[in-house]
Point group: C2
Chain length 157, copies 2
């Protein structure tokens, strides 16, 4: 059986649905509901969600945890053949980590109005000023992600 | 003995010398020589250096590792009473992590010409667009840090 035959390619929306499942896990754990999956050669090699409160660590964002896990799985810091699907526009830390890890493409769902670093606050993610150019697509399944965030914050008011 | 009596306050230059010691350790480990120390109530509670190659992880920067360690030490993600000394102007990832952790003050030595996110490439670190305002001082012991970086890259040419 060829290597190619092993690869079950999912659509972008299917990957994002997996990221949304992670966001729902965060919600259940009383964390701001953000999830991500990291894909290499069509396969999800890392998946995680925001764990900031559980770990008492402001760096425990979904995307950063996925990058750390994927680096372990692949045994390299260079994730140039990988892409990441995240339910919210990445913050400065996560955009920076995506650039540092040379991730090829980012697809996100909802805007991160107060912290997003693609279109919302500033542009880091596909800024041409850095030494790596990430391809970015926003708005995939935006409504689902935004509804989850809205429910979470309404419940806490 | 009062709590205050326990605190041996070091000067900013002394903290930076400790960060430079970490940068020298990185150099010896064939890592880009960048080091950092994280200070709370006058005491160094975390210290680390760039470990990207050793860990195969692009997120293993000195500042990020210090933030993760300090969060463990203090048992909270909120490092509002802390300051960080780093030998190079932080990258986007580290500036974002500093903002996420609500660190009060950053002091750095040399500019990060290709990746720095205070004055060099873009401004994240003390941008007023985010929900936390970090106080920043650059240039402390700049020559020592720059000399270390220069020696490292010249050796590898």
């Amino acid at each position: 059986m060829s290597h190619a035959a092993d690869i079950v390619t999912m659509s972008a929306a299917e990957y994002m649905r997996e990221a949304l499942k992670e966001a729902e896990l965060a919600y259940q754990e009383n964390e701001v509901p953000i999830g991500a999956v990291l894909v290499c050669d069509g396969k999800i090699i890392a998946r995680n969600h925001n764990r900031k409160e559980a770990t008492n660590d402001a760096t425990s964002h979904a995307e950063l945890l996925c990058i750390q896990e994927a680096s372990k799985v692949l045994g390299t810091w260079h994730l140039g053949d990988c892409e990441i699907y995240t339910t919210v526009e990445p913050c400065a830390m996560c955009s920076g980590a995506i650039i540092n890890a040379r991730i090829e493409r980012v697809t996100y769902a909802a805007p991160g109005i107060k912290f997003g670093t693609h279109l919302s606050v500033v542009n880091i993610l596909d800024s041409k000023k850095f030494n790596h150019n990430v391809k970015v697509t926003g708005g995939l399944l935006e409504d689902e992600s935004a509804a989850l965030l809205k429910a979470f914050f309404q419940e806490r008011r």
